[in-house]
């Protein structure tokens, strides 16, 4: 199994710090979510991890080999980019065969079966594909590459609901059949939440949070009820988001829900619910001071 590690990686574009002193390790066989608002540095980080961009400082290693010195180790990594870099003159089926040149484990039969499932014509030219089908083509090659590490940048960009569902199912089936390290960068958090084991939240180029999804969701709960009673309950608790509607208020509290909390809430006639990953993400990235 392949391990990919990033150490103190930084990249500036003029005055903008796109990636700022990022360090992380992707452990083999886990599915990570790379989350962040627009401009948080997700795509830049993925491009730096695959030597498409060169860092100002820091290093990326694949199985402890620095990619700056040994870029051949990147054959262990498939990066589904957010852009289409394929030449306009090559047909889809030709691209599949080309992919096999760089990824010897590429499963051509599997790629062809996926193309049939998504109704992607193998005689189509990449330049003629719609945004959705262009994404599908890149996703198919990422899945069929069988690389030990697969990085997905916006894997559902432009896909309709049916294709998104099909892609998630294929992703899970692919992972179950051949476990690998997967990193998914996306804005459709709730859709992908079921698949993720761990989330990495980027904010202004820095890692603001890295935590297993279950731990994160268990560490946040929502409490709702009459405004004054909710206010009393949250007075000494860390609140990361709240909404007020008429005389009622709903607040998101960042801590584990203990039996003492529940008892106190029941006395105040409050209602407790679990929150979704997307709501936690919005609350965390919207607020100053909650995340580092």
């Amino acid at each position: 199994m392949t391990t990919i590690a990033v150490k103190n990686l930084s990249k500036r574009f003029g005055a903008i710090r796109a990636v700022d002193d990022v360090s992380l390790t992707l452990e083999p066989g886990k599915i990570y979510g790379l989350l962040g608002r627009n401009g948080a540095g997700k795509t830049t980080l993925l491009n730096l991890m695959t030597k498409k961009l060169l860092p100002d400082c820091g290093e990326v290693t694949v199985d402890e080999r620095n990619i700056a010195l040994h870029d051949a180790v990147l054959s262990q990594v498939y990066h589904m980019t957010d852009k289409n870099y394929f030449p306009s003159g090559l047909q889809v089926r030709t691209l599949f065969r080309w992919c096999q040149t760089f990824y010897p484990q590429f499963d051509l039969a599997y790629a062809e079966s996926l193309a049939a499932k998504f109704a992607l014509g193998q005689h189509s030219m990449p330049a003629q594909l719609s945004t959705g089908y262009s994404t599908i083509l890149r996703a198919i090659m990422a899945l069929a590459s069988n690389a030990p590490v697969a990085l997905f940048d916006e894997p559902v960009l432009g896909l309709d609901a049916v294709h998104r569902d099909l892609l998630y199912r294929e992703l899970i089936a692919n992972y179950s059949h051949k476990p690998k390290t997967i990193l998914i960068s996306t804005h459709l958090i709730d859709e992908v939440a079921e698949v993720l084991e761990e989330v990495i939240v980027l904010r202004e180029g820095r890692i603001a949070l890295q935590q297993p999804v279950d731990d994160l969701l268990e560490g946040v709960y929502a409490v709702a009820g009459a405004t004054d009673k909710v206010n009393a309950f949250i007075a000494e608790r860390t609140v990361i988001g709240s909404e007020t509607l008429g005389g009622t208020r709903s607040a998101m509290v960042m801590s584990r829900l203990t039996s003492a909390d529940r008892q106190a809430g029941e006395q105040l006639n409050l209602e407790f619910t679990r929150v979704t990953l997307q709501r936690v993400f919005i609350a965390l990235t919207n607020q100053q001071g909650v995340l580092p």
Binding site: T50, L74, T81, Y85, P87
Partner: protein, 229 residues
Amino acid sequence: MKTIFKVALFHIGDYMWGVLFFLGIVSINLVGQFYMRVGEIESTVRLGGSFLIIVYAGYHSMEHFAFFQSWHLPRRQFYLANAAALFAMALVTLLIGPTLEFVLGAILPVEYGSIAETWFLGLDAVGVWAVLWSFSLHAFTVYVLWLLGILHYRGWFWTSIVVVAALAGLARFSLGVPLGSAFGGSLRFFFVGMIDDRTNIILASMNLTLGALMCAGVCYLLLRRTPIR
């Protein structure tokens, strides 16, 4: 090695569009002249019209860099494949004139004036050295254009302008156009023998080869740290 070979073939296949375009233009021109009977029929490949292909290939050589990088082709392999493809193109363009003359000459009264014959009129510019000189000139040009292509790809606009200006200066100098004593003298110092006032074809060949190797070396250094666009 297999990957390098495959990528080199991909590049050559891409550059062949330039060759086909050039051959098409030349053929249409010659056939047009033949049917219109406008004076003597002359080959348009005189003065090295095949340079158009070299310019296309050299400058076009970064076109698929991002494509191959998206699949993590090591930069060294990309470099070797592209260098080999451009070398092959230098060979193709060297052979294109005589081939045209041979093929078209069978049906039309075409006379091909090779670039070596044109530049070394005062010499008996035939034989192995004339061929080598032509080849080294093509190779030098294609690697210079590759270098320019990389500079443009990296977005180093002003650097590429400086390189183009230096090459324009060299071209003027080599054509015997005065550039002013100080500037011309400096150029003579740096580039003496590159064309060598059209007298010494052997020295000129060696200098052009050296120039081509230097350009190829700089291309490698630049390519190692070129991000994708």
